[in-house]
Symmetry: D2
């Protein structure tokens, strides 16, 4: 297990699908930040199941509580513990599901790793685990907004084979994204997406999709070459989200087909200094932000839990037909939008604080005698 993330702004998450509570401890959040539960609840509500017909019918209220680290609504600099109680705390009864690992689910690998697994639900591999990520990401995002004016906006860019039209990275907002329950800002395709999802839901099947994300007002200089290049930490962060299978930044996979003379981003003088004409780099060069917008895309596989019968084997290897019960998302991307934003925020706050530590020493160094 490694439920820790970050070097200076460190989060440590906890919780399975059916334990008492899920949550997170944030260690290293600066003091003096105004922080109350509602600052966090907004993003939690965007990831919550049962928001609309296209998600699972399970209702979870997911009300966050601040257990420590603030007083009179201001952070003290001490660890901030955040907790959401599980309303449904039923460890399973070791029924049929216990003997059959669900295909493409984590049942089998958790057994392989731990020799034991939670008796029902997904345990720690459940999407409920992301509550800790989203809660702490909301705190990170508030800091980034105040310090740099940074804006982080993600949206659904495809559902199954249905691809949304390109989005203007400079103007897209969460308000626009949230205009539909699909969280896809291309109105021309939203109804097709909804129809596909409803069809799959009725047929007991599921589909994948992609989430795109843009970060604006990112100061230049963030990222820690070589192993913690900014794109490397974003890649880790995104592939740590359940059900993800790919990450690409800037021109991504399609950029591999271009020539250098087409792909290079020439410099030009902009209002606030040097910028680039194009942005195939996705706002990062050599692992460090260049001040342009950062954008990337994340691939989500179709949810493994489907109610159609599946021919598979039980733990002993005997051939069986599995018919899963329960209420599940036919497509996770609309709910994944706030998780992608939150993971991005956790990466950025840590990188920002690490860079600030060095910048703080720079003025003193300027007066030195040089050899």
């Amino acid at each position: 297990m490694s439920s820790n993330f970050g070097t200076l702004f460190r989060v440590s998450t906890f919780g399975e699908s059916h334990c008492k509570s899920v949550g997170v401890v944030i260690d290293g959040c600066p003091s003096g930040l105004a922080l109350v539960e509602s600052d966090i609840q907004t993003q939690l509500d965007r990831r919550r199941p049962g928001q609309s017909k296209i998600t699972t019918d399970r209702k979870e209220k997911d009300q966050v509580q601040i257990l420590s680290g603030t007083e009179h609504g201001i952070t003290l600099g001490s660890p901030i513990a955040l907790k959401v109680d599980n309303l449904d705390q039923r460890p399973g009864d070791y029924g049929d599901m216990e003997s059959i690992p669900r295909p493409s689910h984590a049942d089998y690998t958790y057994m392989a790793k731990y020799g034991i697994k939670a008796s029902s639900g997904g345990g720690r591999s459940s999407a409920r685990e992301t509550i800790g990520t989203v809660s702490s990401g909301a705190v990170a995002e508030k800091l980034l907004k105040i310090k740099y004016g940074m804006e982080i906006v993600a949206w659904v860019s495809s559902v199954g084979p249905l691809e949304a039209a390109p989005v203007d990275h400079q103007t897209i907002t969460r308000e626009v994204v949230d205009q539909t329950d699909l969280r896809c800002p291309d109105p021309a395709i939203v109804e097709q997406m909804r129809a596909l999802i409803m069809e799959l839901k009725e047929g007991g099947d599921s589909t994948g999709g992609t989430v795109s994300c843009v970060l604006r007002e990112v100061p230049g200089g963030l990222g820690e070459p070589v192993y913690e290049k900014l794109e490397a930490k974003l890649a880790q962060a995104m592939l740590a989200i359940p059900a993800t299978k790919g990450f690409e930044i800037g021109s991504g996979f399609s950029g591999t087909r271009l020539r250098g003379s087409e792909h290079n981003d020439p410099f030009v003088l902009k209002e606030d200094g040097l910028g680039t004409v194009s942005n195939n780099s996705g706002g990062i060069q050599g692992g460090i932000s260049n001040g342009e917008s950062i954008y990337f895309r994340v691939a989500f596989k179709p949810p493994a839990t489907i109610s159609q019968p599946q021919q598979t084997a039980d733990y002993q290897g005997s051939s069986v037909t599995l018919e899963a019960k329960g209420r599940h998302d036919p497509c996770v991307v609309p709910r994944a939008v706030s998780i992608v934003e939150s993971m991005a925020a956790l990466v950025m706050i840590d990188m920002a604080m690490r860079q600030e530590a060095r910048l703080a020493l720079r003025p003193s160094l300027q007066g030195q005698e040089r050899p």
Copy 2:
């Protein structure tokens, strides 16, 4: 800077393009491993420039030396320092190149981050930095081979728009990959790739490409959910390689278009236990290896350094035409193959050691009274 990687098998790399030496310190390598320079040199030779006509004409011998950590050819358990001397140690003369940041290169972002940059070459953003990665990766790989019989094989799967045919993950070997200087195991396309690269080299241009990689004989149970899921660490590792823009594992981006009923990997009894019929998961479920082969693909952008004239701006924002000199790779993927393998090995050895730590405690726990 964060030139450290790993929790138990920790590497700390150093070196710029024109300093005295580049290299790595490995902290945490188990004692008792037979290790001499030639164990490391093989992979270094595969990443070396000047190997063939399709790479840069620069010749670098890149001879590795073991400075510490072994005695009589056996590791002592103490830090292993590995060093390759730079034959070309000319810090620049602050000429023309100093005033113009090369488009899509790291000149500008290093200045933004550090307020200073190496006066010539790429400094720390140079591909010479990967010598430390490849040297330590070779040590990791040797341990993985001995302990698990693990095999790691990468190859060129595309050059610009030219895509190689699919490769059999169970049989591909380094010997097959190395049959051509392209390191692409599809003989039908190699000559087209070579022709494209030679054309670009002559025209002072460059192209991108992709490298694919498979890991065989991976034990089940490796990977540390949630933030260090196996795919998350592989994604970080790959995006830490210079010039990478994307990562996908298993079905990747194309899997997002499938339905769950198509994408799920049903279980079946295999010779050595439970396995899966298909492998869209790419050998990992819920962040943990399942014992099937792991495979992934990495996107490399076209090299930024091209000798065609480029319209851009200098640091002051004045419009200029840049004509880069020097000898550079028109396409990095053939040399990137051993870097991809090495980063994969660094991820796997650390995950393996972390899992072994817990497995070691398991037998003692089995005799407990249970509540």
Copy 3:
């Protein structure tokens, strides 16, 4: 803030004196351990205030709850969150105490560091913070007991100027230590200690003391030279306990006066292999356990909070007389015994798991061809 401890068995604690809850998340605890609240409560009860007349009169029940990480009383391998609710959750009313930093307390330094401090009580510097340490230490200790039979016993070895007689490291037990509320196993001096403490309590004063600790059945080979030598991590762990000012291991400060010929511990054949005749080394040589008992001593200063009037200055520098109110311990060492044991357990479990990771690879290495 750095409320994290450990590399493989990682704890992340939280909580101030007057927030909702204090507690800890344990990341990396092996799966399969039988664990229920009562396994933890025993040590918490030993650190609890209000145990007897010699401690503070404040009553805190400190009932621990397991929020996550177990099912049916067995650990799942996922993070274990432990929480104790604060019954007294009154953030202060910014009264007189707000304007005067208490001498030798952390009020002033928390303000210097964070620009804000908890409005009453000690905030994060309160001894309530140690609840997270003791809770997680109890889990660590259970693992160490099962795997190695390791025993960790601490006791009060001095109160102010009153020094207890030497204790037999091979036979001392917690049962013996707990025979008196002083937790000092020298019956000849307990009554003098009690009399001194009661006199100080009545006079509104306090005194320091020392706690000694022995670890038995420690396997050889634990400790990570050079910066995480076993004694170095124990020293860090002990100096992280509130009010500590010193640490010595084995012969400690008095050993500096000896000659090498007197101090060296010669080897001798023992029942279970090589051992040492004397144990001035305190069970550690070169940062690594040698299989003999580990013992060390920790210095605790007199509690800073006294009710006698003190001449000091307020934050503005004006001279004032401070008369502290509230109920405080005149001497912390009897309650510190379980904290010392818990920190020792957190060090040892992490070192043990790190060593096991390497031991697991050793057999595979033995069959290698050697150069």
Copy 4:
């Protein structure tokens, strides 16, 4: 092995007594620092053996080389690799010494941990390992001096039973300390110390001693409660130095005998703000620096290697008489002075950078609306 230290200013040391080189990689040093070999050599020369008659007769020149991370004498922000070649690179011939673990030396524990040990000298447990610490500490110290004007001065405060008179913490300098080869600033006792050491040297024996250290011009607010309290990291750092057995800060062990009313440090207005009248706290309260001088003392045991015959056992347990050969220090404390200073500098720079990261965010937080 854990040869890494620090979170933002991270060092990774390497090297045994008889390998090619010993050294260190510093990751995270800010860019723009003027740094040449002579900045480092001064402290290396103070730790070098063969400085005077009272140390070992071995001569080691210990010339440091900068391999990477600087250009034209200025740090680039990239990893700084520092290396000292071993002039004596003779791995042993597996002679007599191989069969007998030297009493109180690390031979036995290295075998227990690694199953192998360097065939001669101390391997990684040799004092040569401290070259990496001292080299990187010199860089840290230069930064601390420039940024804060911080001064770190250590000295020999006792040799065996001979205790130096107290030293004025506000005025002691390295120049004064270095006036004698004993590095003890109490002229009244230096000759006795020298006589004792020479007597022991001739008799083939050794003695312990203590080193004291003061840090001046430390800004308030440094230290990371709870597990990385400033005193906790200093304790870890000092106990990571070979041959150390104890650490005490401020009033230390003797302070445990005092009453709170005697021990508390009242506040008073000083020139540059609030300070304390006395300094029993040693400049730290609650794990955080308070702006007063930090002082502490470190216990060094008598060196284990003595040339007197010792009755002990070989690895098989047979009783033997060991007569060690070679040239060794009869007392390490004069050479340990620069090691203590260097470890202190490594702690302080890391704590300083971590605090600066948070301070940098504070101004932005001041304009917030508060609840």
